[in-house]
C-alpha cells in the first residue's frame, strides 16, 4: 500500500495498471500541504487505522480497463449536430485536447491504416504509465482525431515504437512534473514527401506543411488516452508546454553542408537516405539570437554566436540530468545558411559540439549556491554522480550527447534550443506500405488541388 498525495491518485492508478495489475491500489491520501517542509504530520497518526486497513482489508473495486476497439455513437438532427455531439462526448470522456477532433469512424480509420504495412492489431507495446496496449489501430484512431492522413501514419508508428522503448525514459517522463514533451526528428525522403516542415516555422502550425502538427497531436492524444497522461490526474506536468502538438519536424537535409551527415545517420547509424525518426524529450524551447549586430567579421560573428548559445546552456536548472550519461542536454537547431557559413569558416559539427560542451560548464560555486550538487548526488547513474566532483561541471557527460540539427528558415539571425529532458535518444526506421506512392499522389491532389 502507499502513502499518497490526494491529487496523485490518478498517477498511482496508472502506475499500478502499468505493472499489469488491475488499476487501483490501497492508498492513504493527504493534501499537498502534508508533503511540504515543516508540515504538521499529525494526520498520519489520526488516520493510522486507514493504513492498517489498507494492509488487511482493502479490496479492488475499480473495474478492468475495457475491451479493445470499443465503439461509441452519437446521434444528431444533422451531420453538423452529430459532429458537435461527438466532440462533446470526446471532452466529457476526457479523450480530447480541447480543440475540435475528427471522430475516428471505421471508414476514416481504415483509410489511415493504408499508410502502414503493419496489421491493425499489431502491438507496439504498452503505453506508460497506465499500460494501455498500444496497437497500430490505436495509432490510426489518434491520427484520425488529430486531423491526420494515411501517409503520416508510418512516422507516428515509428515514433510510438520509439516512445515505448524503455531507453526513451517515457515511463517516468509521462507522469513526472517536469513537463517533458517528445521531440520527433525525421530524416530521409519521407519528410518532404509528406510535407513535414524543415524550414521557416518548422516548430509551429503551417498550412503548407500540416503533417508535423497532426502527427505530434496524435502522439499527444495517445500519451493521454492510451498512456493515461491526463493533466493533473495521470501526469503531474506543472505546465505541459508544447503539448498540443509536441514537436515533429524534419531535418533540412537539402541544406546540410558538405561533410555533415544527417542526424539519423550520425546518432543512430541509419544509412543516408533512410527514412527514420529520432525521438528525444525536451522541456524547454527558446530562441537564441545568434547573429552579430554591427561590423563583426565573419569569424567574430560565428564565435560570438557560439558563445551566446553556450552561455545560454550554462544554467544550473539541471534539466540535462535526466539524460546526462546517455541522453541529451538538448537539441540545438541552426538554419542551413548558418551551418554552411560555419563550415566555410572551418567549424565542423564535432568542433561545434566540443565548443558547446566546453563553454557551457558551470563553475562549482554557481552549482553549489543553487543546490545543484544534491540533485547530482542522488542521480541513478554512477557516471552522473561522479560528475559532482568536476569543476566546472559539464552539463552532460560527453560532447556527442548534444544534438545538432540543421533546420529552420534560411535566415542567419537565430538558432533554437530545445532544452533536453531525455534519458535516451531512440531511433527507428520508418516503414511505409505498398500503397505509399498512391497515397502521396492523393495527398498532392487533396492538399494543393492539383
Amino acid at each position: 500500500m502507499t502513502l499518497t498525495r490526494a491529487d496523485f491518485v490518478g498517477v498511482m492508478r496508472n502506475a499500478v495498471s502499468g505493472l499489469g495489475l488491475a488499476p487501483d491500489a490501497a492508498m492513504v491520501t493527504f493534501p499537498i500541504e502534508m508533503f511540504l517542509p515543516g508540515s504538521d504530520i499529525a494526520p498520519v497518526e489520526a488516520r493510522k487505522q486507514e493504513f492498517y486497513d489498507g494492509l488487511t482489508r482493502w479490496s479492488l473495486v475499480q473495474a478492468n480497463g475495457g475491451a479493445a476497439s470499443a465503439m461509441v455513437s452519437v446521434q444528431g438532427a444533422t451531420f453538423e449536430d452529430a459532429l458537435a455531439r461527438a466532440n462533446h462526448m470526446v471532452l466529457a470522456n476526457q479523450w480530447g485536447d480541447g480543440l475540435p477532433v475528427w471522430p475516428a469512424t471505421r471508414a476514416r480509420v481504415d483509410w489511415i491504416l493504408q499508410g502502414t504495412p503493419l496489421p491493425r492489431e499489431h502491438v507496439l507495446g504498452t503505453f506508460p504509465p497506465r499500460g494501455g496496449v498500444a496497437t497500430v489501430e490505436l495509432c490510426a484512431i489518434a491520427l484520425v482525431m488529430a486531423g491526420g492522413r494515411p501517409e503520416y501514419l508510418p512516422v507516428l508508428v515509428a515514433a510510438v515504437d520509439a516512445f515505448l522503448t524503455p531507453e526513451s525514459g517515457s515511463e517516468q517522463l509521462q507522469a513526472a512534473s517536469g513537463s517533458a514533451f517528445p521531440v520527433v526528428i525525421v530524416n530521409g525522403p519521407i519528410g518532404p514527401q509528406i510535407r513535414l516542415n524543415s524550414g521557416f516555422g518548422c516548430l509551429g502550425p503551417d498550412p503548407q506543411h500540416p503533417a508535423g502538427a497532426s502527427i505530434g497531436r496524435a502522439l499527444r492524444l495517445m500519451q493521454q488516452n492510451v498512456g493515461g497522461a491526463l493533466p493533473g490526474v495521470g501526469t503531474m506536468a506543472n505546465y505541459g508546454g508544447l503539448r498540443y502538438t509536441n514537436v515533429v519536424f524534419s531535418e533540412d537535409e537539402g541544406n546540410l553542408p558538405a561533410g555533415w551527415t544527417p542526424h539519423g545517420t550520425e546518432r543512430h547509424g541509419f544509412p543516408p537516405g533512410t527514412s527514420s525518426i529520432s525521438l528525444a524529450f525536451a522541456n524547454g524551447a527558446t530562441n537564441i539570437r545568434r547573429r552579430g549586430a554591427k561590423k563583426e567579421t565573419p569569424e567574430e560573428d560565428a564565435l560570438q554566436g557560439m558563445h551566446r548559445m553556450a552561455d545560454f546552456m550554462r544554467v544550473p536548472n539541471l534539466a540535462g540530468l535526466a539524460g546526462y550519461e546517455r541522453g541529451t542536454p538538448g537539441i540545438l537547431m541552426i538554419p542551413g545558411v548558418v551551418a554552411e557559413t560555419m563550415t566555410r569558416l572551418g567549424w565542423t559539427k564535432r568542433s561545434m559540439r566540443e565548443f558547446l560542451w566546453g563553454h557551457s560548464r558551470i563553475p562549482a560555486e554557481d552549482l553549489r549556491r543553487a543546490g545543484g550538487h544534491a540533485w547530482i548526488e542522488i542521480d541513478a547513474s554512477a557516471v552522473t554522480r561522479a560528475s559532482a566532483a568536476l569543476d566546472p561541471w559539464p552539463i552532460t557527460a560527453k560532447a556527442d550527447n548534444f544534438i545538432l540539427i540543421v533546420a529552420g528558415g534560411g535566415h542567419p539571425t537565430n538558432s533554437y534550443w530545445l532544452q533536453g529532458y531525455s534519458p535516451g535518444v531512440v531511433g527507428r526506421e520508418i516503414r511505409v506500405s505498398s500503397h505509399f506512392p498512391r497515397l502521396l499522389a492523393e495527398a498532392e491532389q487533396d492538399l494543393t488541388g492539383r
Binding site: T2, M34, F35, E45, F51, L55, T56, N64, R130
Partner: protein, 97 residues
C-alpha cells in the same frame, strides 16, 4: 437523424497479475517500508513505523533504510527482488506526491 459511430481511443489494459492478498492481521507480521526519501517521507514513515510497533506488540517492522531508497532505486527489479528476499509480509511505499 444522423448517427456517428466512432472508436473509443483508449484501447485496452492487460491485467497480468493479481494484487497481493491482504493480511489477516498485522499481529506477528513482518513489515517493511520502501521510501523515495522525498516529500517528508523521512518524517512520516518513521512515525508510521513507531505507530505500528506501538499498536501491534509482536510485529516486526524493518528499519526505513532496510531497502534501497530514492526515486531512482525503488522502482527497479533489484529492489523488488531484495524486498522479496527479506521475507516481509507487506510493505508500505511512500511518499507519492
Amino acid at each position: 437523424m444522423t448517427t456517428l459511430e466512432f472508436y473509443d481511443p483508449c484501447g485496452r489494459l492487460e491485467v497480468r497479475q493479481p494484487h497481493a492478498p491482504r493480511l489477516d492481521t498485522l499481529a506477528g507480521k513482518r513489515l517493511g517500508f520502501v521510501s523515495n526519501e522525498q516529500w517528508q517521507a523521512f518524517r512520516m514513515l518513521p512515525l508510521l513505523k513507531a505507530l505500528l510497533e506501538r499498536d501491534f506488540a509482536d510485529i516486526e517492522v524493518l528499519p526505513i533504510s532496510a531497502f534501497p531508497q530514492g526515486n531512482a532505486l525503488i522502482g527497479n527489479e533489484e529492489t523488488a527482488a531484495e524486498v522479496k528476499r527479506s521475507g516481509v509480509d507487506a510493505v508500505i511505499i511512500g511518499n507519492a506526491a
